[in-house]
């Protein structure tokens, strides 16, 4: 990366409390699956089995804990997720089938997230309150205000709203809108705002575009609870997320969490999707931790990676034979005739 060299000193160190061995292994397993999935998607792209790749290799140490901690379900008593395009790890940790990601990558008719219409990583799962991921940067910060309002103190709703974006995108006015609307006195919203700071927006470095050290500083002006964490450490991420989610759920007030993460394959396939030198790899680092703690062996981890890789390679083969959407299907779903979000079926 080198995260250690560039990470500002205000980034919190991992808390002394470690997670349980079982949880560590579970997180590792999901991080690995998420990484192997991204590798497969990139392979698909390089083989011409998809037009464009974008995703989250380098964010697994953060995205996986998030998926584990979310209160998953449908409706106001569960958490709404307004994610961006690097959240595959979160979906996997919530129990998504990775094969569906391959389907979206291949724009197959069987893609359950968008029916072959949207790019990879653009999830939509109404049953789990996962609001459609969409391309315009930062608009999710404006939209999240609505689900959060429906869950605000006094409504009796138990769920909270979680919204996530990248560092560069915080320059859009919608990020400021979220700060303003979430902190209105007497009308505070149960909103967890997450910024995954990989220190780039496509080719543009963080330095020179911001007038503060950390984006989380912007929340302080609004009296918000904030934290900056090492998002490359899954234990730190888990602990910080648990704290933030608990706070929002209990206090029904907003929280701004900034996680410093890596961008291992560059921005997207548009910049080649090749491994980038100098970025800290959270998976490798966590593997060393697990070895040190004797929770996993090198051989065991290699075997696991091999197994997942083979599984997805086989799934890829199967998905290859699934059909693309028919031309006429472009006209499906222009207007709804049922009010699905109100429970009509």
């Amino acid at each position: 990366m080198s995260v250690t060299a560039t990470r500002p000193t205000s980034v919190a160190a991992a808390p002394s409390g470690r997670l349980s061995p079982e949880l560590c292994v579970q997180i590792y397993d999901l991080m690995l699956r998420a990484r192997v999935l991204e590798d497969r998607l990139i392979t698909m792209y390089k083989q011409g089995d998809g037009f464009f790749w974008i995703g989250g290799p380098g964010e697994e140490a953060f995205s996986v804990p998030l998926g584990l901690l979310v209160d998953k379900g449908q409706g106001l008593d569960h958490d709404y997720l307004h994610l961006h395009y690097r959240c595959g790890g979160t979906l996997l940790a919530m129990g998504a089938d990775p094969v569906n990601s391959l389907r979206q990558m291949r724009n197959a008719a069987t893609d359950p997230y968008s029916r072959g219409r949207n790019f990879a990583g653009h999830y939509s799962v109404r049953a789990w309150n996962v609001v459609p991921v969409t391309s315009p940067i930062a608009i999710q910060f404006a939209i999240a205000l609505g689900t959060a309002r429906a869950q605000r103190a006094g409504t009796g709703a138990k769920g909270i709203t979680i919204v996530q974006g990248g560092d560069a995108g915080t320059a859009e006015g919608d990020f400021a809108s979220a700060l303003i609307w979430a902190t209105r006195r007497g009308e505070e919203l149960p909103l967890l705002m997450i910024v995954c700071n990989n220190r780039y927006g496509i080719s543009t470095p963080y330095a020179g575009q911001h007038g503060y050290d950390q984006i989380a500083d912007r929340g302080k002006a609004f009296g918000m609870q904030t934290a900056v964490i090492d998002g490359n450490d899954p234990e730190t991420s888990y602990t910080a997320l648990r704290h933030a989610i608990d706070y929002v759920r209990t206090e029904r007030r907003p929280y701004l969490l900034e996680a410093m993460v890596s961008r291992l394959r560059g921005h997207s396939s548009a910049s080649g999707a090749n491994l980038v030198k100098g970025e800290l790899d959270c998976l490798e680092r966590f593997e060393r931790v697990l070895e040190d703690r004797n929770l996993m062996s090198r051989a065991g981890m290699d075997e696991l990676r091999e197994r997942y890789t083979v599984e997805l390679a086989e799934a890829h083969k199967r998905v290859r034979s699934e059909p693309h959407p028919a031309p006429s299907s472009a006209w499906d779903h222009v207007f709804a005739d049922k009010d699905l979000v109100r429970g009509e079926a």
Binding site: D174, H333, L340
Partner: protein, 353 residues
């Protein structure tokens, strides 16, 4: 009879008390003002937002996704132009998610000229709104339609853009065209639902016993029957076109004024029926004339009804001007007026094929 703005307010009351509307919001929509045109006075779910149209539209989308039935207001459509990307999102979410999430929201906003609103406060929004696939777009020209279209908009599972013709908001309905349940007497209605001047903190509205009335989205209305020329219009230009047509009856020209009421989906059957009868078409609206919704209607008529036509269809619309100027002269010269509509009808009626 209720004015259009009272009709809208009554529909919103029905919405929040019977149809599941949880949030009616926008700038100055809540107490004490209840909307710059009084449309949201006395509503129990009305609240004031920050001065941030993007937050308003975003919140509306989010509330809709959460299964609420939000009605959001943009104070003047002139101030909705920084939210077109969000409006596009509202319109494409159902499609983009392959039918996973619908977005049952209503966005209401006053449109058009006629109140000397100057460069801002005179914009039209129909051209822009019809360029938002996934949205339904309605625009009433009478209080009863305003009431019935709002109820339909509220229960529709899709985003519905509700355009309020500014110049008609304070116009009362025709006696023959009541809102079911409104008291006969205007003064009585006003004393029940209009907030008093001065301190309103203790005031509560007394709502009449309103019945539900759904004007279906996608159904036009013949505002004035006629057989010589078809005028396709909506909103403020409906009474203007009717007045023009009535005056022309003296010259034995009978124009049929079709109040589209819904711009999308448009009532193509009604348009076809009228054009087949009159063989001459005039489209009238206030929006700027280049890339205008009336041009769409003309294109489709040309495509599907060319050999029915006894004259080239015409458009009377706003000038392609950067703004509508404040001075009387400027406003009058910039958007359709009755005389221009009359002249166009006469020209069409007299046109020799």
């Amino acid at each position: 009879m209720a004015t259009m703005i009272q009709a809208i307010r009554m529909a919103l009351h029905v919405g929040e008390s019977r149809l599941g509307v949880t949030d009616i919001f926008g700038e100055d929509v809540g107490p004490p003002l209840g909307g710059v045109f009084t449309g949201t006075q006395g509503l129990k779910t009305a609240w004031n937002t920050p001065l941030d149209e993007r937050g308003i539209v975003g919140t509306a989308i989010g509330l809709a996704l959460a299964g609420q039935r939000p009605v959001a207001e943009i104070q003047f459509c002139d101030y909705a132009f920084n939210t077109i990307d969000l409006l596009k999102i509202a319109g494409n979410t159902y499609w983009s998610s392959g039918g996973d999430w619908n977005v049952p929201m209503v966005l209401m906003t006053p449109v058009g000229a006629g109140i000397r609103g100057s460069i801002y406060h005179s914009h039209s929004f129909d051209a822009t709104a019809t360029r938002l696939p996934g949205w339904k777009v309605v625009m009433p020209s009478t209080p009863r339609d305003a009431y019935g279209l709002m109820l339909s908009a509220i229960v529709d599972p899709n985003p519905v853009m509700y355009l309020m013709p500014k110049a008609l908001l304070r116009v009362k309905g025709d006696a023959g065209d009541p809102i079911p349940g409104e008291p006969d007497d205007d003064k009585q209605l006003s004393s029940m639902i209009d907030a008093p001047l001065g301190d309103r903190s203790a005031w509560r509205p007394r709502w009449p016993a309103l019945e539900e009335l759904y004007i279906p989205i996608g159904e036009a209305r013949i505002a004035r029957p006629g057989s010589h020329v078809t005028v396709l219009t909506y909103g403020r230009n409906v009474p203007m076109a009717v007045a023009a047509a009535n005056e022309l009856a003296a010259e034995s020209i009978e124009a049929e004024v079709v109040d589209l009421r819904s711009l999308h989906p448009v009532d193509w059957a009604a348009i076809t029926a009228s054009v087949r009868k009159t063989n001459r078409v005039l489209c009238v609206n206030e929006d700027t004339e280049i890339t205008n919704f009336g041009e769409h209607l003309i294109r489709r008529i040309i495509e599907e009804l060319f050999y029915e036509l006894h004259a080239p269809p015409r458009l009377v619309a706003g000038g392609h001007l950067p703004g509508i100027g404040l001075a009387d002269n400027l406003e009058m010269a910039s958007v359709p007026q009755k005389d221009g509509i009359k002249a166009a009808i006469v020209e069409l009626a007299r046109h020799e094929p």
